[in-house]
Symmetry: C2
């Protein structure tokens, strides 16, 4: 990549919008809030847009309460709209008007499926996370990464690497992390809120899932099926489901873990995690989804049962037939 | 610390013994095997002594099969005996004769409870792990950290920091890790063998433990009690118990997690993990044990029930009485 650092496009008189994907995860919140703090004294106005919930485990992030929802989209014509951590522009859902009304869209992402949709596209699929990309870009601009920004960006890196375990973790990820710790990132807060504050009901829910999980294709594939009623009965948050899928993916001999989650009576979310060889980005693309080779997702039109009937034959043909997708 | 680098004591004509603690964990195996590879071309003979089992999840470590057991202690008078990751010299158990028969004992450790027992003591309780200390020492000596050494040392760092989550993780831990990745540490093998290869019986065992765990002192303390019969019935390895205690310690509101493990009809091992304030090193010292402020252990003379009767009143007096230990 020989482009200019896109953070250097921001000028003091600019009004800047920051947008990320629907159902934000740690890297989504970490990158938009990190960039908000990075740009706070570099622009006239920096508005970060994302769905948020005061009950979110991410609510400890500095300025989380300043996130703006869809109903806060006003008439401001932003000079720049940074779209962060979005594999495609449809993933911004209700915030899409910000992309069309802004003078320039800058797309910064690490998803391999991102084919570019901005006037500026800065896509680096070798980075562990969008937060890692922003750390590198910001460390190249003087005095922009304060402790608040560092806490947000470190959150993104930690959550998108499973705390430095996923194969996306590189030497550069650790160097970026050392830099963020040096800038005052609050690692103790991240650890406490995101890893040591597991609701008792989630622990009980894991016990339930272990009891009910299905192993198919000679125990190489594990399936979890979660209805809305079930999630509500345990009072488990939708955003917490990722931790359960990773837990069962890591069973010895398992290559692929799938969770089917009821979004509505007509829509089912599938999340896919693989271990060594199964390309789940390609598998998800059958349903207009995407992500990474080892972690991807999609929304299937249909009930839980209908989604299972669509996906499971594809999976068994890969595992039982020995074909690649 | 203004001592000389103790690795520079090693000369080409030296015969060197490496020893670590009983029931070796990732940092114990990582540090002795890492140092074995570091010294392999720097000394005449390097013998690494530790209990080992071909079924161990650590058996993927380079030269694991060359570890020597107690019955391999011969008549060699070693010039140097490096004792690694041992808070006190009693923890070497059956290998103690190596300390008395060697010309010089070098104690390298990161446990705060280590008061020194070598002719040379290199104790740094600010380090995440003995493997981190060895990485720093070895990177100061030319061309000593090959890929095999790097894989061993990275294993020690990762296992002693819960993959960079524990509060012992510092900027230096990440810099050391970036160095080890640069030297060719096999992160994929570490991830696969230690995090993605969880035996199905362990997952089932966690489900059982979640069902049976006891929450006391207003849900601030969680207790797990594991008899030998129970462990055998699930076919779970003793060395895997740490992952379960960490899992339940991380429940929201829990400060202290304790596991009682039957060692024999006369002896019970206790492992203690705390979250924010409870000094478990001090708690373990009541039973001649030790470790760190947030992770410690001890052996209590008595059955499981007797050990519970000795420890639980101490715990409830801390949590219910609000006194420190």
């Amino acid at each position: 990549m020989k482009q200019n650092n896109p953070l250097k496009l921001v000028k003091l008189e600019h009004r800047v919008a920051l947008v990320t994907h629907v159902h934000p995860d740690g890297d989504a919140y970490g990158s938009i809030l990190g960039l908000k703090h990075i740009l706070s004294e570099k622009a006239l106005l920096v508005d970060a847009f994302a769905d948020s919930d005061t009950q979110s485990k991410y609510s400890f992030l500095p300025s989380f309460s300043e996130l703006k929802g869809e109903d806060s989209i006003g008439d401001i014509e932003y000079d720049l709209c940074f779209v962060l951590d979005c594999g495609n522009k449809e993933r911004v859902y209700g915030f899409s008007s910000l992309l069309t009304s802004s003078k320039m869209v800058v797309n910064i992402d690490h998803h391999v499926s991102n084919i570019g949709f901005g006037q500026i596209d800065w896509v680096d699929s070798s980075a562990s996370s969008t937060s890692e990309i922003l750390t590198d870009l910001a460390s190249d601009v003087d005095d922009t990464v304060n402790a608040k920004a560092a806490t947000c960006l470190l959150t993104g890196i930690i959550m998108d690497t499973g705390s430095f375990l996923y194969d996306s973790t590189t030497k550069n990820t650790h160097i970026a992390t050392a830099f963020l710790l040096d800038q005052g990132a609050d690692h103790a807060a991240i650890r406490y809120h995101l890893f040591q504050n597991r609701p008792l009901q989630n622990v009980k829910f894991l016990g339930y899932l272990i009891d009910k999980m299905e192993l198919i294709s000679n125990n190489q594939v594990v399936l979890l099926t979660v209805s809305d009623e079930l999630l509500n009965s345990f009072n488990v948050a939708y955003e917490d489901l990722d931790e359960f899928i990773s837990y069962v993916r890591d069973i010895s001999g398992v290559e692929l873990a799938i969770i089917f989650k009821e979004l509505s009576p007509e829509e089912t979310k599938i999340s896919l995690r693989s271990k060594k060889w199964c390309d789940v980005n390609e598998l998800a693309s059958n349903f207009n989804g995407g992500g990474h080779e080892r972690a991807a997702g999609a929304v299937i039109q249909g009930t839980l049962d209908e989604a299972r009937e669509k996906l499971i034959p594809l999976v068994t043909s890969i595992f039982n037939g020995g074909q690649s997708v």
